[in-house]
C-alpha cells in the first residue's frame, strides 16, 4: 500500500543493498551487489538474503528490475539486474541525510571508541 511503503523507514541491510545498486549503476545484479557489500562493509552475507531484500525493495517501489541475457560464465543462466527508481533514490537520500545529520560532530568520538 502506497502510504505504508512511503512511511516505512529503510532498514540497515536495505540501505546497504540500495547503496550497492546505486554504486554499481547499470551493472547491479545479485552476485555483484553481494560482493560490493562484502568488499566495502566486510559483511559476508548470503545470496538469498540479498535477493530477499531486493525483492522486498522492489515490492516497495524503490527498485525496478530487468532480466539480462544468459552468459556461459554462469552455466548459461540469466542475470536479474536492478536499478533505483526515483522513490528509491529519495528514500536512500533521506536515510543518508538522517544518518549524517545524526552523526555530525561525532566523528572523532566514533573513531576513538
Amino acid at each position: 500500500m502506497w502510504f505504508k511503503s512511503k512511511a516505512s523507514a529503510l532498514g540497515d541491510f536495505e540501505q546497504l543493498v540500495l547503496f550497492g545498486v546505486l554504486r554499481l549503476d547499470e551493472d547491479a545484479y545479485g552476485a555483484a551487489i553481494r560482493q560490493e557489500i562484502h568488499a566495502r562493509s566486510g559483511r559476508d552475507v548470503s545470496i538469498n538474503a540479498v535477493y530477499t531484500t531486493l525483492d522486498r525493495l522492489e515490492a516497495k517501489g524503490l527498485l525496478r528490475s530487468w532480466v539480462g541475457e544468459p552468459t556461459p560464465q554462469r552455466g548459461g543462466r540469466r542475470r536479474k539486474f536492478y536499478a533505483l527508481r526515483p522513490a528509491g533514490v529519495a528514500a536512500l537520500g533521506h536515510a543518508y541525510r538522517a544518518f549524517t545529520a545524526m552523526a555530525h560532530g561525532l566523528e572523532r568520538r566514533l573513531e576513538t571508541k
Binding site: 545484479y29 545479485g30 552476485a31 553481494r34 560482493q35 548470503s46 545470496i47 538469498n48 538474503a49 535477493y51 530477499t52 525483492d55 515490492a59 552468459t71 560464465q73 554462469r74 552455466g75 543462466r77 540469466r78 542475470r79 536479474k80
Partner: protein, 884 residues
Amino acid sequence: MKSSPPRLASWLLTRRLPAEWRDFVVGDLEEEFQNRSAASPVGAWRWYWRQTIRCLARPPRVRSHSSSFLYSPGPKGDSILRTLAADLRYAVRVLFRAPSFALAVIAVLAVGIGANTAIFSIVNAVLLRPLSFDEPDRLVRLFHEPPQAAFPGIHRFSVSPANFYDWKHDARLFDSMAIYRFRQFTLTGGGNAEAVVAGAVGADFFQVARARPAMGRVFVTEEDDPARAHVVVLSDGFWKSHFAGARDVVGRTLRLDSEPYTVIGVMPVRFSVASWAITARDMWVPLAYTEAQRAVRENHNAQVIARLTPGVSVTQAQTEMDVISKRLEQQYPQANAGWGATVVPLQELIVGDIRMTLVMLLAAVGLVLLIACANVGNLLFARALARRKELAIRSALGAGRARVFQQLLIEALVLAIAGGLAGLVLARTSLTAGAALLANQLPRAEEVTVDARVLLFVVAASFITGILAGAVPALRAGRSDLNAALKEGGRSDSAVGIRTRRVLIVCEVALSLVLLMGAAVMLRSLLALRHVDTGFDPRNVLTLRVSLPETKYKTPAEISAFFETALQRIRALPGVQAAGGVDDLPVTGGSVQPIVLEGHTELLPRDQPTVAVRKATPGYLRAMNIPLVGGRDFADGDVAVMLVSRAAAKLLWGDADPIGRRVTLPLESKTAAKQVIGIVGDVKQGELSEEAMPTVYEYTREHTWSSFAFAVRTAVPPLSLAQASAGVVRAIDPEQPIEEMRTMDRVLDETLTSQRFSALLLGLFAVVALALASVGIYSVLSYIVRGRSREIGIRTALGAQTADVVRLVIREGMTPTIIGILIGAVAALASARVMQRLVFGVSPSDPLTLAAVAGTLAIVAVMASLVPAYRASRLDPLQVLRAN
C-alpha cells in the same frame, strides 16, 4: 581451466529454490564460484556449500503465495525445514511431558506394527524373496499328469524312468533335466546303527541346481552306473555331525547297507533348503539305474527337476511337454494312454499351498493395525482436546490451521515411528522365540529374517499409521472454535467431538468382528478336521517304522521272519493289546495302483479302476481298530490274500459279494492273483478333508516288502512302551535302526499343522483386536462420563437412581457397538468367499458362529462400559455442580 561447483549442492539448490529465483541465484553463485576458484579451489568449494546451506535453511522469500500449506510462511518467514525442526523438537518435548500417554500410544502401535512386521517378514521370506539357487526362476519341476478317470483330482504324479529319459532326449526348451528319488540306507560302523535318508540323483542333478561342492567334487556322468556308483557326497550337516568337520573327509569310506561308499565331496550349508526335500538330505549317491530300471515305463516313482533355457516361459515349456507326451501316448499306448506332463515352477511348488494362508493372515494382521490406528486416533484426539487451550493460544498468536495441523500430525508421526521401532523389536523377538514353531509349519521357515525390505515395510507402516491415526484428530482440533476454547478457561473436559469418537468405536468393533469371525471359523474348521471320522481309532496307538536294508535281508523268508518275530514279541509286552504292520500309516498317503479283476481283460491304464494299495500284516486291523465288516481278518500263514474296504468293494463289484473273488495288481505282478477274504471299514489314507479312498490291503506269508510302520495298541499310555518296543527290535538285530517313533494322535496332528498355524495366529490376532477394542470403548466412555458429569450430576440431583445412570452410560457405549457389529457382520459375510477355500466342514458365513461372535463382542463392550458407568453412578451431585 573452468571448474564446476559441487554437483550435489547445485542439485539441492535447484530442487529447493522457487522457480522464479532459481536461475538468478544459482547463476550468481556459479559466477562467483568461478571467480573464487581461480584464487583458491578449496575455498571456493567451501564457500559454495556455505551459501547453499544458508539458502536451503532460508530460501529467498517470494511475494506470490506458495500453494502448499507446508510452505506457508509464518510472520518470521519460516521455511519448511525450520518449522519442521521446530515442530519435531516441540513434539518430543510435549511427549516427554506426558510420558504415560506417550507410552500407551507407543505400546498399542508396537503391538499393531510388530504383529504386521512379523507376518510380513514371513511373507517376505516365503513368497517375495527368490529361492537361494542360481537363477531360481528358471528351475521347474516336471510331473506326470495322470488320467483323471483313474486318479480323480490328482494332477501331479511321480514320473516313470523310461518317460523321463524320453523327455530328456526330446525336449529342446530345457537347458538340462535330472531325475532323482529318495533312498534309505542303514549306516553302520560307528556305534549304533542309524537310518539315513539319501538323495539318489541322476548325473546332471547338481548341474541343474547349479550347485558347487564346498569340498571335493560332485558326481560325473560315468558314475551314474551301477558298477561305479559307490561314491557319496555329504551334506554340510552330516559332515559336521559325523566327521566333526574334518578337512580330510574326502577319500574316506562310509558303510551304507553294509557296502563301502567313498566320500568324494561335501556340499555347502546353503545348498540344503528344508523346503526342497532332495537338498535337505544327509547325503547324495548316484541314482545308477540299470538298463532294466531305465526301461520301466509303467511304474511312476521318480522326481524330475529341470532348468529352462534362458528366455523360455513356463507356458512355452508346457506346450512342448504336451507335444512330447502326445507322441509318447501314441508310441506306448499300453503304458502311457492318458498320461500327460505338467511343468511347475519350483518356487510355486515350494510355497504353493501356503500362499492363500499367508495372504489371509496378512489381511487379518492389517485389520489389527487398523484397530490400533483407531485406538491411537482416539487417544490423540482426547489429547488434542485436552490441549485445546494451548492450541487456541497458538491460533490467537497467528498460527494458521495448517500450521496447527502440521504440528499435531508431526506429534502423531513421532509416536508412530517410536511405536514402529518398538514393533520391530517385538517382531524380531517373537520371530526368534517362535522359530522352532515356525519350522514345522512353513516352507522356507529358516529363511525368515529381518532384511532391508522388512525395514522398509516398518518405515512405511509407521508413516501410514501415523498419518491415519493423526490426521482426523489433527483436523478436528484445528477446526475447534477459538473463542469457546479460550473462554472455557482451564476446563478442558467438556464433551467435544463425541461423534468422532463414536465413529472410532464403530470402526474398532466392526474390524474386531471380522477378525473374530475369521478366527472362530478357522478354529471350528480345525476341530471339524480333528474330529472327522477317520475310520480308525488313533487313541492309544504307538507307531514306529523299521526299514530293513536290502543288502542284509535278501530273501523273502528272512524279511518275513524278522517282522513276524518282532511283532510277536511286541504283542507279548505287558500293556500291549494288539500289534501289526503296514507300509504306510493312514492319513500319510501311499501307493495308488490300478487293479484288475479276474475274468476281466486288462484295460488301458487310463480306464482301469485304481485303488489305494496297502501291505499289512495280521494284527494291523485290531491295532488300528478298523472294523471288519464281512469275511475274516488276515491270519499268520495266509498266502496271497486281500482285504477290501467297503468303498473298494462297491467300486469293483457293486452290490455283489466280493469274498472269494480274485484280483491282480498289474504294477506288482501281472500274474500273481490275490484272493479277497474280507471286507473292512473305510479309512482316510490321504488328506483328512478328502473322502476316504477305496483301499485294498494285501498280505502274504513270505513277502519282499522290507519297510513297515508298526502300529501298537496299548492299554497304557503309548509312549511308555516306546523303549520296550525299540528294545524288541534291537534284540533281534542290534544294527537295525528305528525311525519315526510317535503316537498315532501325533501323526494326525502333524497333518493339520498348517490349519493349526492359521487358527493359532488368527486367534491371537482376534484376542489382540478384542483387547484393543475394549480399551477403546472404555477410554471413550470414561471421557464421555467426565464430559457429561454436570448433566449426570443434575440428573442425580433430580432423583435419577444409580441404575438409571448406569443404563445411561452403557447405552452410550452400546449404540456404536451395535452399529459396529452390524457393519462388521456385513463385512464378515462379504469376506466369507475368500475364507471358503481355507476351511473344512464349516461355512465361513455360518450364522451360529456369527451370532456367537457378535454376542462375545457385545459382552466385552458391556464389560468395558461397566467401570465408567460405575464411576458415573458414584458422582456426587453437590461436588459436581459446585465445581462447574
